[in-house]
Amino acid sequence: MNSNQNELQHEEYDHHGLAHVMPVKLLVGVFSLLIFLTIITVLLAQVPLGPWEVWVSLGVATVKATLVCLYFMHLRYDRTFNGFIFLSSIFFVALFLALTLMDLNGPRVPLSGIE
């Protein structure tokens, strides 16, 4: 059974190979890492970190997201263009967020009625 699976995995680069096949060990390994990171982020939330809290939480979340994207969503083994499309959306989200937040901190001109 194992040798058949290995045979099929090597075959994937022959004409039946529409895409790379993920090894089970890698899937389970990534899952374990994701669970570990979830525990870490919950524990870190108990530690008072002041203004760093947001960045630490988002940082751990981003590591988890990267794992999901690269391995569960297969981007590591995919055509590079798909990853590029994904990253381009992140760029626009960052733009959206940055410009909106900048607007919040900008100077306010009080509106007065027309006399």
Binding site: H16, A19, F31, L34, I35, F72, N82, I85, L101, L104
Partner: protein
């Protein structure tokens, strides 16, 4: 080329046909994947609107957010995170099973993913009904801390909300069960399996509800519920704590809607999987539905810390 045959492979290995407008199966697969990724980035931008709303209100009213956060049960949120991560594992594994022509494993993994989604919704219903009972609702409906709410009223309200949220699952379970009991012989084995899965999903939803209740009772002491907790009561003229819950219910609600849609699509996919339509030649749909499901998981990976942990 040698096709290794295992007992799981049967005699077909997924005869998806190549649509006439594609030159090859590879092109069909790549085009489908590209299409799904383009759809996913529209979903990312869609959710980003909600995330930016969160950021804006958080920057403007940090104290409201920090205080309101105390009313969210971190344990339930963390549990739901684990459930969704596990469902992502089963979904990614299902893609692998489809690629290798492991038909039975593929169907079982899709069913497992569906059951995880049911547990997620069951746990979520406990969170929602808890807030309904305490008056921790969206702007305009926020009544927490007001003197009118008595303990008995709160418990009754919680129970009512749990019942209302659980009604669809109960209906699905009862109807599926009835179909299996009375019409079993007239159904094909595929339809019978699908109805059994529907029954399972309805039942497992209540397992989620049960887990949610147990965890909520065990962690009750860590969530502050003093009636005199006026730190986040409504201040006239200012956006109050209701705004946090507007954002909370919208974000988690839209996310839950995506879970429901995903469940529907997965049932459609399960039907095809039970008919052995997926295999090394044709597994695109499994792959693409998997991508959608991982995106739903990704959104939650960010929702969890932003709503439950920061503050």
């Amino acid at each position: 080329m040698v096709m290794a045959s295992t007992t799981e492979e049967q005699d077909h290995h997924g005869h998806g046909h190549v649509a006439h407008h594609f030159d090859s199966a590879q092109q069909q697969f790549d085009a489908g994947k590209l299409g799904m990724w383009l759809f996913l980035i529209t979903e990312i931008l869609f959710f980003s609107g909600l995330f930016v709303a969160y950021a804006v209100y958080r920057v403007n009213h940090p104290e409201v957010f920090i205080d309101a956060r105390q009313h969210l049960n971190t344990s339930l949120g963390a549990l739901n995170t684990v459930v969704l991560l596990f469902s992502s594992l089963t979904m990614a594994w299902a893609v692998r099973a489809a690629q290798l022509g492991q038909h039975k494993l593929l169907s079982n993994l899709i069913i497992l993913t569906l059951l995880c989604a049911s547990v997620f919704l069951g746990i979520k219903s406990i969170e929602y009904s808890h807030k309904w009972g305490e008056g921790l609702l969206w702007a305009g409906a926020y009544t927490y801390g007001s003197e009118e709410l008595v303990e008995q009223d709160k418990s009754a309200a919680k129970l009512a909300a749990t019942a209302v949220l659980g009604a669809p699952a109960a209906l699905i379970a009862v109807v599926s069960g009835a179909i299996l009991v009375f019409w079993r012989k007239r159904l094909s084995s595929v339809v019978r399996t699908l109805v059994a899965v529907a029954l399972g999903m309805g039942a497992i939803y209540f397992v989620g509800v049960g887990i949610g209740i147990i965890v909520e009772v065990l962690t009750h002491s860590s969530v502050s519920h003093e009636p005199g907790d006026h730190s986040i009561s409504q201040v006239a003229g200012e956006p109050g704590p209701g705004v946090f819950f507007s954002i909370y219910f919208t974000m988690t609600g839209v996310h839950a809607l995506h879970i429901l849609i995903g469940m529907g699509v997965m049932l459609w996919m399960l039907e095809k999987s039970l008919r052995f339509e997926y295999g090394p030649d044709y597994f695109g749909p499994v792959d693409f539905v998997g991508l959608y499901w991982h995106l739903v998981d990704l959104v939650w990976i960010y929702l969890f810390p932003l709503l439950y942990l920061i503050g």
